[in-house]
Amino acid sequence: MVEGVNGDDASIICVRELCNRFGDHVVHENLSLDVRRGEILGVVGGSGTGKSVLLRAIVGLLRPTRGRIEVLGRDLLSLPAHARSLVERRFGVLFQGGALFSSLTVIENIALPLMEHNRLPRPEAERLALMKLSLAGLPANAGTRYPSELSGGMIKRAALARALALDPDILFLDEPTAGLDPISAAAFDHLLLTLRNALGFTVFLVTHDLDSLYVLCDRVAVLARKQVLVTDTIGRVQDFPDEWIQAYFKGPRGRAARAATNGHGAAN
């Protein structure tokens, strides 16, 4: 499906020796990371360790100070505008605050990429958008409302529906379950897993939700001290001998999430 992937054949995102600096503030120093095709990679790290910055650099919103990022085998920042747009429309991005277009209704938000990129006529696009909206777990009557009239959790789900609109190859999710109630968060995990299994897309998931990490993620990458400390299955990551990782996974919340997952025998 993808042409000309360099290096490791299985990796769909390839970050090498990435440095990001804002003034004197160094966020990333020689950070390297591979995301394999079809996996759900969880990215965790303390506040301010640059998880969102890494996401923004990968999707090409931020020019890194130094280093190389290849997505789908191409360096986004060196591509001409048209070729870049072709790659970018294979992304679905869910921003932390939703970033829905505030002057469009929810349905129009989701239908916009369908109409712009696939030239679908408006009724068809809105019909499809409505389906995506329900898929993301929102009632149909939320579709005619404006983002400012929605609750935080509804905005998250509407933003997910928009990220899924074009059936992307790579889905970037920035804290998708933050602010959702536990039932909705579990439904979100289930939906993501169902779609990934059927469609085979890749997920880059920035999260603090330990339940999501245990249930969803094939691998987990830990960001700390300006680098990726370790990228491995959650079973191995939680035993990694590092103070921060131990505090993260073996703290009271980590223990509870692990116990719950093991109890259901659903750990990967």
Binding site: S102, S103, L114, N118, L120, P121, E124, R127, L128, L130, M131, K132, L133, S134, L135, P139, A140, N141, G143, T144, Y146, P147, S148, E149, L164, L166, D167, L191, T194, L195, N197, A198, L199
Partner: protein, 381 residues
Amino acid sequence: MPAEDRSDLLAWEIHEGTVRLAIRGRWVLSHYEALGERVPLCRAAFAQRLLVGVDTSGLEVLDTAGAARLVELLGGEHLGMLAEGGISAERQAMLDAVARAMQAGDALIPPRRPTMPVELLGTMGAGVLRFWQQFILLLGFSGLVLETLLRNILRPRGWRMTAIVAQIEQTGLDAVPIVALLTFLVGAVITFLGATILSDFGATTYTVSLVGFSFLREFAVLLVAILMAGRTASAFTAQLGSMKVNEEIDAIRVQGLSPVELLVLPRVLALQVSLPILTFVGMIAGIAGGMVVCALSLDITPQMFIDRFGRDIPVRHFLLGMAKAPVFAFLIAVIGCLQGFSVRGSAQSVGEHTTAAVVHSIFVVILLDALAALFYMEMGW
């Protein structure tokens, strides 16, 4: 993907009252429309017949858009047949999710849009209503600002000098160059026009009175007020509007602070200082423009200009012009802030209210100026 493949996506075979479907190729978003044409044809074919089997062995790619078409094709009742047709468990799970989603989606009936004449009348009515509401709102908000101001004046500890000075710099000092340039040019143009007409009567010396009267009484304050409406009222609306979108105003309120005291008073007071000073700058620059034209094209030297000016024009005209400045300043600041507070949640709303702030303040300024001119005339000033 070549075009001939698209008709091949879906085929059906009719055999003595039974139908067998074959699903093939790529059922993806890029074929969504093509599939939309084939699906109703196919449904018509098996509507009166018995569907005995669905072959999905040729199905290469299926995404959620394709799944939506597949659910449309088969309907909820036949979806189970896909499992017999050899579809994978993952795809079946996605199809079930999509089918459930579509059921929920079909329950929605989109609201009908009214017809053109009805909409036209409705828009007009809404416009009239809005005008009245805005007027009431402006009166109410002005009252609120004045009340807060009176309360605040008695407590010098509550004066926010830093904010006021910063606003004076932005609204006053930064606007001096543009105000001076604009009024200088208008002054020059008026003098030139006046000179052209007055020279027909041999009364070119009265050009001095013309430019003096017009700038002291009307033009300086009016030009500056219109400029401030465009420059400052819009800035106030955009500042407060984006704070409103960001819920910053709510944050101020829940901390037990008053947004009017914190945000509106410094702006109103700053403009009370800036606008009269800018009006004075405008008068000087306009008259200077007139003086330059007089010197260059009418042989009235600056010395003569100033002599005549001092003799012909009483100071009363300067005071009458200046008297309007604080009123305009108050209204411009209050309208700008009111529109900022009226912003509702979206970027588009910020834009709409910024436009409204400029239009309303220019409207109010010109209306009041006309009323003031009538009043001055009746009083014989």
